[in-house]
């Protein structure tokens, strides 16, 4: 029996910022305001022509949408008229559910009355505040422009405006962070009474200035004040403990919410529901069109170019940087390495219904081994990460990936070593 196609999530990328934070490894940056116009026009053209983009990828266009997420960058940096224009395009092309979750990422200290008005007018009902830290020294060290007071004030302002669905982003592993300052940040977050908190751990790679500096062993960007891996692990454990004690239960590796306030949009990524991304480096996953579906393809993934230039260049072929089909084998791998991110884990009975026993046979031994190592556990029909397994989830996920040829050219050993630990040592 065919399962009905779930409603899609829509992601809108706004890659503009006033300043670029040192830890940021996303394709956002500081661009002149003159670029905003061209960007929004292209974005809207893509949204209006979304069904054609989907067709070009041999994917099925999903018109029903029940979540919209504006990420950045700093979406609220755009003038009100641009924001309205984007929403108009969205509602023209998609059937946006009346109860859709509509989230906009905001930088604390930038929520003026004009911005709030346009967000409310457009139906935004959820705000994610990029606080990262309530300790001013820590926020300043990575280039955030706000203070603790400004962030706390924003929560109040949003509440008064009628937006209660608020998420606070926090990062464990910022320069100068200690167990004590981290607990203080957590306490501040909890005291606001927001229903959702995301806790990320500092990612170290060559796509951010701080990451590059850490890999090089330098001291710029306060890199030498970044906590070591073990301390970051500890900070994470403290967060899990404190937040759940405060009623914000962990539902995903990085996400905590009070009951009923889990992010519908983010869940689409982990549960492999369709989503359509627009803008620089935005990614989509759609059901296959009739032809690939007949060939046994499970899903189509594609992403837009990850630079502003690529995105603004002519022709969809050039602008769509990467596109791939997910085979049934790939789909099973994804179910495991995405689904296991959720605390509730993966429903093994559902997997048995969807995938052949031949395909599943390969996972039994791996699951048994990971359980014996204390990284996975069974809870009824659910397979879940243990708390230790969450911190070592890459080790678990890698097990489920089919062996592939080593990447051509090869990374240097030093680099590979660093990547085994996503955050720096010392």
């Amino acid at each position: 029996m065919e399962t009905p196609v779930a409603a899609a999530g829509i992601y809108i990328s706004v890659p503009f910022c006033k300043t670029k934070c040192t830890y940021c490894n996303f394709a956002s940056g500081v661009f002149s305001k003159a670029k905003y116009r061209a960007y929004v026009d292209q974005l809207c053209a893509d949204i209006v022509g979304a069904h054609e983009i989907a067709a070009g990828q041999q994917a099925e266009f999903v018109a029903a949408a029940d979540s919209i997420y504006f990420g950045g960058g700093t979406p609220t940096i755009l003038p009100a008229s641009h924001i309205r224009q984007i929403f108009a395009a969205l509602r023209a092309r998609f059937d946006v559910a009346r109860d859709a979750e509509i989230t906009v990422e905001c930088a604390p200290g930038t929520l003026g009355p004009e911005v709030l008005d346009v967000l409310l007018a457009c139906g935004v009902n959820r705000i994610s505040l990029g606080v990262q830290s309530f300790a001013d020294e820590e926020a300043r060290a990575v280039g955030r422009l706000h203070t603790r007071d400004a962030a706390l004030r924003d929560v109040e302002v949003l509440r008064r405006a009628g937006i209660a669905d608020i998420n606070l982003d926090l990062i464990a592993g910022l320069p100068h962070q200690s167990a004590q300052s981290w607990q203080q940040s957590l306490d501040d977050a909890i005291s606001t009474g927001v229903p959702h908190v995301s806790v990320y751990m500092l990612e170290v790679d060559e796509d951010s200035r701080l990451g590059t500096e850490l890999l090089a062993g330098g001291a710029r960007y306060h890199a030498h004040h970044v906590p070591d891996d073990d301390l970051i692990a500890e900070l994470y454990e403290i967060a899990c403990e404190r937040l759940s004690a405060a009623g914000l239960a962990q539902y995903e590796i990085s996400n905590f919410a009070s009951r009923g306030h889990e992010s519908r949009h983010n869940l689409k990524y982990w549960t492999r529901q369709p989503y359509f991304g627009f803008g620089v480096d935005a990614h989509s996953m759609l059901p296959p069109g009739p032809e690939p579906a007949r060939a046994g393809i499970d899903a189509i993934r594609f992403g837009m170019g990850d630079t502003l230039e690529a995105f603004l260049s002519a022709g969809n072929a050039a602008r769509i940087a990467a596109s791939s089909t997910v085979s049934i084998e790939g789909a099973l791998e994804e179910e495991l390495f995405l689904g296991l991110r959720l605390n509730r884990g993966v429903d093994l009975a559902a997997l048995r219904r969807r995938y052949s026993s031949a395909l599943l046979a390969g996972t039994h031994q791996k699951i048994a081994k990971l359980c014996s190592h204390g990284l996975l556990q069974h809870a009824g029909i659910q397979l879940q990460l243990t708390p230790r397994g969450r911190l070592l989830s890459n080790e678990v996920f890698a097990e489920f990936l089919a062996p592939r040829a080593a990447p051509a050219g090869g990374v240097t050993d030093a680099r590979a070593r660093h990547e085994l630990h996503t955050a720096p040592v010392g």
């Binding site: 990612e203 970051i232 590796i253 990614h283 993934r301 992403g303 070592l392 989830s393 080593a406 590979a416």
Partner: protein, 601 residues
Amino acid sequence: MQREFIRNFAIIAHIDHGKSTLADRLLELTGALSAREMQAQVLDAMDLERERGITIKAHAVRMNYTARDGRQYQLNLLDTPGHVDFSYEVSRSLASCEGALLLVDATQGVEAQTLANAYLAINHGLEIIPVINKIDLPSADITRTKEMIEQTVGLDAKDALPVSAKTGEGVPDVLEAIVKRIPPPKGSAETPLQALIFDSWFDPYRGVGVFLRVFQGTLHKGQKIRLWSNGKVFEVETLGVNTPKPVEIEELKAGEAGFLFANLKNVADTKIGDTITDDDRPAIEPLPGFEELKPMVFAGLYTVDAHEHTLLREALEKLRLNDSSFFFEPESSVALGFGFRCGFLGLLHMEIIQERLEREYQLDLITTAPSVRYKISRTDGDVVEVDNPSKWPPQGEIAKVEEPVILATILTNEEYVGGILKLVEEKRGRQKGFEYVSASRVMLTYELPLNEIVLDFYDRLKSVSRGYASLDYHLAGYWESPMVKLDIMVAGDAVDALSIIVHRDFAYDRGRALAAKMKELIPRQMFEVAIQAAVGAKIIARETVPAIRKNVLAKCYGGDITRKRKLLEKQKAGKRRMKRIGRVDIPQEAFLAVLRVGENA
């Protein structure tokens, strides 16, 4: 050519003292090569040779020279390898000459290498012509250089020739001196054939080529020749000389040098120093001085990727075609899988082979710590030779260990003597001589265990002397020493490829340093990993790699699953490049660290 118009000579020089440049100049002056044909430094053919500025294989070039007396002479330049590892090859090249140019850099003076080869030449009774090079440089000191030649080599440097090989100044006098001062070869073209093999190489189209010097008799095309050491008989297909372009000739008479091809398939048949004679009319005895070359330094070679093992074997076989002094046999290591135990003449030789394998055959290699060959007397009375730590008998079965010892000659400037003495003492050296060879130049002679040389001695010597020390050595016997096998255990398993043989007194420090280094290099695993250094059953050092606590990707930027997958795949690939021993993944660098651990110890 009549014998009296033939001159066979070699050039003895230290690296960078200008041997190749002088050779080029001689070729140019005798018209062997036009300036247009000159490729700088014609004699150093291999890329590696040109890069390192040393000659690895010997060559022979014939030049025709019209001397100032108006007569035509045939000058044969028999080039010699320029490094201590190849001293036997040098000795065979020198044995094929009647004279040698002793080339000394006027800004540097005599170096240990030059000295060793000069002594070798004197012992062979060669006429030696001192040539002082680089006189065009402002820092050239001809008088001092002459003094040093007289004091160190013990030669009369009154008639030393000042030249600049670079500008060509003085080089015509060198040609004249070769004719006047070096005696013509002896021997008769009529007596039974005696020819000396002084080098061989492999030509993919024609098989093995042999460089030789005819001492007695005549060699001609089609002749049935016999190799003295193994009695094998071949027919001469091609005779030739390099001018330096190869030119075929009909015969080589007593006194002349050249090359031959005789459908020889195997370089191992053409041993350097062997005598070639006529199969129908053999000589009564071989030429003197033949020795079987024995490797002195041993190491295991493994490919990082186990699938390349066959490629490594093929590459080693090909290299061996060209280099009979290097030996290999299959070995296997629990840690590294299948590889080859290789024997080399010395450290440079090892490095060259390694580099050629990596460069010419694109192999990614792991080399185990170099070792020497010990003589072990067992308690049951047996004597065994062991060059591989994994073959070391249990300590309880060893009655006596003898280790090879070298006699090292080090020439340096006074100000570095302090540092060098400290180094050689640390390396268990015993002083044999301490001599001022000029006001500020010192010659040290030391007996040193070869074991201490193979690890890091060259690098250390270079650093304590800032490069102003030269070293020459030769094997000088054995010492009875309390050597022990030091094992490194990772998570309880001894890793054979990390075992080394050390002097008992050094075991503790080495063990500690190695364990600390391993802790640094072994990435954190899913569980705590104990690293122990042990001699026999006794643990002498312990370190712990704590379990990894976090390896997690937090954010999923805009649903970019592909990026996540790539990162996971990269991590996985990184692990596959490591060697898994027991449950522990050990990176390649850990195996290389054994080679370097002495530095900080």
